[in-house]
């Protein structure tokens, strides 16, 4: 007999993974359509109504392509890296509460779990670049590691702000606290919103999104770490990138915008989580197709001279608020 907690994890995990992969596929469709409209083009139109089956066609095409491994490549690492990126991204999903008590695992260490797997993402990217035996890939991997490690810090610090307010590291508890009190991004004025902005920027950098897509930087490094990859192995990197964007949007909406909590007293539920996640995903897409890219050293300077000190200050302010606000009276949210 399988213990119920394992069964719960298997069913919920399977459903969440499949749902997210599907959402990602049509997220890509949406992004292509949106980018097309933004650039006075049509985007995909040929496969299915309004090109809706384009993601399936893309996957079929990628699966048919030859799976090339360069002669000089470190074969094991080269073949292992793409699936690992998808695995680490999907592992993050485990602790995200999608609805009231709808989560794969109700872990008490949810926030560290998310940050840990997000941090692990650096390794498959680095091994992919190293194992490719390509100079562009190596440069891309170097940039990815530097960027990943740097942006991990403001991301970690700003994720502490909801933890401090809610008094729990369980993501489900943080959302529940927000449903009972208020969304962290809205109150108290200041730390929550700024923490969200910094968290969001760090997520953009972690997910290699413009203006922070330095590791790929195809105008400089051809395709960065994915230069030598072809077929579905390239597809997996591509998938992981979009998955990462989507998961980051979900985490941000759970930590800062009350997750499944409805507005104006409307009933809570998974639809709120979906709406908030897709809004943030849309925002990322919008930014991506409007802005140019920073230079690697400018990226580092932004992180270390602005984001890290600012997030440290936010953590401090949050802690002081939690300590002193109750003494100010109930209207201050104590």
């Amino acid at each position: 007999m399988i213990p119920p907690i394992v069964l719960h994890g298997l069913i919920y995990g399977g459903v969440a993974a499949i749902a997210l992969l599907t959402l990602t596929a049509w997220g890509i469709w949406f992004e292509r359509k949106f980018a097309g409209r933004m650039q006075s083009r049509l985007g995909p139109t040929m496969v299915g109504w309004a090109g809706l089956l384009q993601p399936l066609a893309d996957v079929l095409k990628l699966l048919q392509k030859e799976d090339l491994v360069p002669a000089q490549a470190d074969r094991t690492l080269y073949l292992l890296s793409p699936p690992l990126t998808v695995f680490f991204t999907l592992a993050t999903v485990a602790v995200i509460p999608f609805g009231v008590d709808v989560a794969v695992a109700n872990l008490p260490i949810g926030v560290p779990w998310i940050l840990a797997f997000s941090g692990l993402m650096v390794f498959p990217v680095w091994t992919a670049g190293w194992a490719s035996a390509n100079k562009y890939a190596l440069l891309g991997a170097m940039r990815a590691v530097a960027q990943g490690i740097s942006y991990e810090i403001p991301m970690l610090l700003t994720a502490l702000v909801p933890v401090i307010f809610a008094g729990s590291m369980n993501v489900n508890e943080i959302v529940r606290w927000q449903a009972e009190h208020h969304w962290i991004a809205l109150w108290p004025p200041g730390p929550g919103l700024f923490a969200f902005v910094i968290f969001f920027l760090s997520c953009l950098a972690e997910a290699n999104r413009i203006p922070f897509d330095i590791p790929e930087a195809e105008s400089e490094l051809v395709a960065g770490v994915t230069t030598e990859y072809s077929g579905m192995r390239f597809g997996l990197f591509y998938l992981a990138e979009y998955l990462h964007t989507l998961v980051a949007s979900a985490v941000a909406s759970a930590l800062f915008f009350g997750g499944w909590n409805g507005i104006f007293g409307l009933p809570d539920g998974i639809h709120w989580m979906l709406a908030k996640t897709l809004t943030l995903f849309f925002l990322i897409t919008w930014i991506r197709w409007s802005l140019l890219r920073f230079r690697a050293d400018q990226l580092m300077r932004i992180c270390w001279t602005y984001l890290v000190p600012a997030s440290l200050a936010l953590v401090m302010i949050s802690a002081l608020w939690v300590h002193y606000a109750p003494q100010l009276g109930p209207m201050w949210g104590g």
Partner: protein, 408 residues
């Protein structure tokens, strides 16, 4: 090599490079070749080299210590080919030289032949040539702005948005050219003595409509580019080309003007109808990538103004000063030579032609094209050291090289 010679620039480098502190022939023997340096061949197949251009980069980390450009991957032997063809057959060949600005290429070769053969161009044809050159300048600068966006924003991102919008506007100008010549790109509309195709009825009105639309949208594109803080952060102070070095390397056009040299052949040595209109020359003092971008953007606006003036001022009259072409060997040159230089969107495009005399009278005896892009590329070994790979594509893009022209 001793340390003192490594610190002193080689004798082959211009004196102004020494003042700049950059040695393009830097001795790399003080680096450990196994540990410190990486040689990266950027191109000839690379998304941002604007054609088949190869750049050999010696990298210390991501910082360039020496850059060696290699040209010639697109060499087609155009000059030799033109010596084998007759004067009237040359025009469609040079269209493919600077494939972003074919109009000015046609004008350059035909002006050189006209100077050699002593043929006058009627006033109406001169006005039309000036108008085509100015409209081509708008189209060319739009293409430059769009590809510059891709260099900085990537093929999947904001750069492409800029690219697609600028290309749409460029298409409109090509549409106007198509109405006159029947071709969108390789026009073959200039001929010895004037133009082949007259402008159709109602064309001037369409030019006004299109240019008004482009003028109203340019400011929008500037928000995506020159007034955008990321764009400015990427270009300000990057790839500074000092005035003296630019002059020594023979750099012309917007790059020279962005280095603070007030030089424009349209005003300083007027050709076509430029002696009848006033060209406001745009300059910038700093010589960095931002200055080059600003100069080109202002030139675009200035060209819109000039085009509107010109299209209203086209006089009546014949469009060609020579007899219509009946056979390819119609024009026969006496022994002699001619050099004609004109201002293309990229700078001074010179054509030097020697007439053949008795045995080879219908074709050039010797022909040399001086492309502005080749001279612009020669600045790369001075501009790149000290910058990163990311800056390489920005600097290269700001020089606006066209390899078809540089390699000929």
């Amino acid at each position: 090599m001793s340390a003192s010679s490594a610190a002193r620039p080689s004798s082959a480098a211009p004196a102004s490079a020494a003042r700049l502190g950059v040695d393009p022939h830097r001795d790399l023997s003080d680096y450990d070749p196994e540990a410190d340096l990486m040689v990266l061949n950027m191109g000839p197949q690379h998304p941002s080299t604007h054609g088949v251009f190869r750049l050999k980069l010696h990298l210390d980390g991501e910082t360039i210590v020496r850059a060696v450009p290699y040209v010639g991957y697109l060499h087609r032997g155009v000059e030799k080919l033109l010596e084998e063809l007759t004067f009237v057959q040359a025009t469609p060949i040079v269209d493919k030289n600077d494939y972003v600005s074919p109009m000015t290429n046609e004008q350059a070769i035909n002006m050189a032949f006209e100077a050699l053969l002593g043929i006058e161009v009627p006033r109406r044809a001169r006005y039309m040539r000036t108008l085509f050159a100015e409209m081509q300048r708008i189209a060319s600068h739009l293409l430059w702005l769009s590809t510059f966006g891709i260099d900085m924003g990537g093929a999947l991102g904001g750069g492409t948005t800029l690219f697609m919008h600028c290309f749409r506007e460029r298409e409109w100008i090509l549409d106007l050219f198509e109405l006159v010549t029947g071709a969108r790109f390789h026009y073959n509309t200039h001929t010895i003595g004037g133009n082949r195709h007259d402008i159709p009825a109602g064309w001037a009105k369409q030019v006004h409509t299109t240019l008004d639309l482009i003028a109203s949208r340019i400011d929008e594109y500037l928000e995506l580019s020159t007034t955008n803080s990321i764009f400015v952060a990427r270009t300000r102070g990057v790839g500074i080309l000092p005035k003296e070095l630019a002059l020594e390397l023979g750099i012309t056009g917007p790059i020279l003007r962005a280095s603070g040299v007030d030089h424009d052949l349209r005003r300083d040595a007027p050709f076509h109808a430029y002696d009848e209109i006033e060209v406001k020359v745009q300059t910038e003092p700093d010589g960095d990538c931002l200055s080059r971008a600003l100069v080109r953007v202002r030139e675009m606006k200035e060209s819109i103004r000039l085009s509107k003036l010109l299209v209203d001022g086209i006089p009546e009259g014949p469009i060609c000063g020579a007899r219509p072409i009946k056979n390819p060997t119609q024009f026969k040159a006496k022994e002699g030579q001619a050099y004609v230089a004109l201002e293309t969107p990229r700078g001074e495009l010179g054509t030097y032609v020697i007439g053949g005399g008795k045995n080879k009278a219908a074709s050039p005896y010797r022909l040399k094209i001086r492309p502005p892009s080749l001279h612009a590329l020669s600045a790369l070994p001075y501009l790149l050291p000290g910058h990163s790979i990311s800056d390489t594509v920005v600097i290269l893009g700001s020089l606006d090289p066209i390899m078809g022209e540089a390699d000929r």
